[in-house]
Subunit: 412 residues, 2 copies
């Protein structure tokens, strides 16, 4: 490389997003970049000229290893949507001016759907204006809803965390006996795509029967059918555990959580903020069946639990970061790195690049045939798909009993 | 030992309670017990003559290792309170008849305050009736509220989980920027005792500033003071993280969670079921300060997260189980095993036995001097107390990416 590289992180964090950052840094340095800058809080921070020189932060091999094990976005993130190119070119001119000043050759953006929209627009603008800066997207999202890639870095670690926690919750749920049984509802992230909720099936194994029902947001939720199935299960077993996506809706398009309290807050991309699905279903079942119920929200730990990261996921995230820099260095722009699965067991994968125009703003959902006929469980195909992605562990670097992270001094 | 041993588990489960069960089994076999029975669902199951022969379940060294790594109570638990001896002797006669039929020499009960009440009453009844069966209590509770023991098995693993998760939540909270900042409220178990909530301070270290405030249930909670402190912190930092006990109350004795929704369910011991403290405080702060807020309940995973158990805790739980059998074999009855701390760093401890009459129904709270003057943080003494208890890890036995547990075939 002749010039410099700048990298940013965008959207919700994951346990693997910093491993991609480590991969970008390593490959950029290996390929001769003079400087590797990190935008603080993504494109939004860049517009305020907020960035750091990564070599002042990743000073040793140990720092790089700690970074791979640090949750959240090391550089900070944003949810900023660029205006359409034809709406406002001022923003673009401002960004390109900063990039030119920093002698940027490659712009790497680690993120999900909304972030790929940023890569698409910036690379389009480069073509229009004849800029030679290359823009490459690096996939990241626990939601696993990006098109054209077999899966996204971040998903495997979240799936491993969900499978493990749901198994521990199931074990716990059998501990105490209740006259009419106990029903536990576990609420899992995933607004529109059920990839995370489906991963609760990983709890199933020789030593655990797994959750009894799994409801993905891809199919309409029916209160009556749900209640009847729970009642039937309670005739046979003392504890019933149900995994539900935060985004399940009834056939009329109303979110289940809206039946309880209505939350009207909407983020910058127009996404409704959801929560309370488990809590509502838990009081619904208690009211209808008179049994003990419990609501558990796995909460932000689904994306932050680096202490239970998947080795496959952390390594792939690192590879994908490196592949993004390599693609830019070899002349690509307006592309996103994708993961191609070559075999399930033993698992093998490789990276390729695909046109970001075919990815941005598209949402990959769980296919109907990976759910059972009743729409209340995932099939073996789903499990075979996700199982390889949770393999292996990344031992946290434990200091005084607690995992150590890489930190930005200004955050303390 | 000449006769048989019977062991039961009672009260809420922990990540370490099965390690104590493994310790009881091992020592009983080593000391020549013919049979080691396990009551299913504690004393309640025993009264229905529900028990198992543990040698049919712990068949190998591997089984014993898996048992130590299995959350929840392997034998099942109960929350049954024996009537006063002078109220009803039928129940006692029934229990002793079953124990005599099984040729029981030692009765070991693993549990917390309420379980020690059971040991107290049964050992008293043995004295009254001249029975030679010995009754020994084995401490267990994540709440760490038992008197006379330095700490209780189960607490260390829960503290390690809480410290780690709060640190991951803090890291995550700095990821996205919000105009008026973001306030995250983390709700932690502990109805009356703040030992678990105080453990959130373990998140603090060279790489993390820790939670900004910690509210224990031992001191009255003041909404005004809380709001003002949050507002002041938001002037200096973009993210504020607060750890609160589920049991915090205002000066008039009203639970903070009761300000939101009132939950009137009361368990067999007269304990109110609490939840919603974080959720209420989160909407309170959003309303008062207009900033982004987030509520996180660490939920039952605090007691079930074997995947992040503390090695010190799991080993001590095992030792305490063994010490209970040893005490019974050497003629003790009406006693509970306690842990005596010999030094902090390097940490050393030993076991002794104490009169259960001095323990049952007593609750050990966090001393006032281990909280700061404002009552919104724990002191260094608190941290020095808990730090040794979270040291070391117990690697889960990972099978296909998920921790393996020991299971009862009938539970599948």
């Amino acid at each position: 490389m002749k010039g410099n590289v700048i990298v940013g992180q965008s959207g919700g964090p994951t346990a693997a997003i910093n491993s991609s950052l480590a991969g970008v840094y390593r490959t950029a340095m290996d390929r001769g970049a003079k400087k590797v800058y990190g935008m603080l809080n993504g494109i939004q921070g860049l517009m305020e000229e907020k960035y750091i020189d990564l070599s002042e932060h990743i000073k040793s091999e140990l720092d790089a290893e700690l970074l791979k094990r640090t949750p959240s976005a090391y550089l900070g993130s944003c949810r900023y949507k660029l205006p359409g190119i034809h709406e406002n070119t001022d923003v673009y001119d401002q960004i390109f001016e900063i990039l030119q000043k920093l002698d940027i050759e490659a712009f790497i953006y680690i993120g999900g759907n909304d972030s790929m929209d940023t890569i698409k627009k910036l690379s389009d603008y480069a073509i229009i204006t004849g800029s030679e800066i290359r823009f490459i997207g690096c996939p990241k999202t626990i939601d696993n809803d990006l098109a054209l890639t077999d899966h996204t870095p971040g998903y495997g670690s979240a799936a491993k965390y969900i499978g493990t926690c749901v198994k521990e919750v199931i074990r716990d749920s059998f501990c105490l006996r209740y006259d009419k049984g106990v029903v536990t509802i576990v609420e899992i992230m995933g607004r529109n795509a059920g990839w995370l909720t489906g991963a609760s099936a990983l709890a199933k194994g020789e030593d655990c029967s797994g959750p009894d029902m799994i409801y993905l947001p891809e199919l309409p939720f029916d209160f009556e059918k749900f209640k009847n199935k729970v009642a039937k299960l309670l005739e046979k077993k003392s504890s019933v555990v149900v995994a539900v996506s935060e985004g399940i809706q009834t056939a009329d398009g109303k979110y289940v959580c809206e039946y309880g309290t209505s939350i009207d807050f909407v983020d910058a991309f127009g996404h409704k903020q959801l929560s309370g699905t488990a809590s509502y279903l838990s009081s619904y079942i208690a009211g209808e069946l008179g049994c003990k119920t419990r609501a558990i929200e796995l909460s932000t730990l689904q994306r932050a639990a680096s202490h239970l990261a998947s080795r496959v996921d952390i390594l792939e995230a690192y590879q994908v970061g490196g592949a993004a820099v390599k693609a830019a260095d070899e002349g690509d722009s307006g592309k996103m790195v994708v993961i191609v699965r070559q075999s399930d067991d033993p698992y093998q994968s490789a990276t390729e690049v695909k046109d970001v125009h075919k990815i941005a703003n598209d949402e990959k959902l769980v296919p109907r045939e990976w759910m059972n006929k009743d729409g209340d469980y995932v099939t073996q195909e789903f499990i075979s798909y996700v199982r390889p992605l949770i393999q292996g562990d990344v031992s946290p670097v434990m200091v005084d009993g607690i995992p150590r992270h890489l930190y930005k001094p200004e955050e303390l």
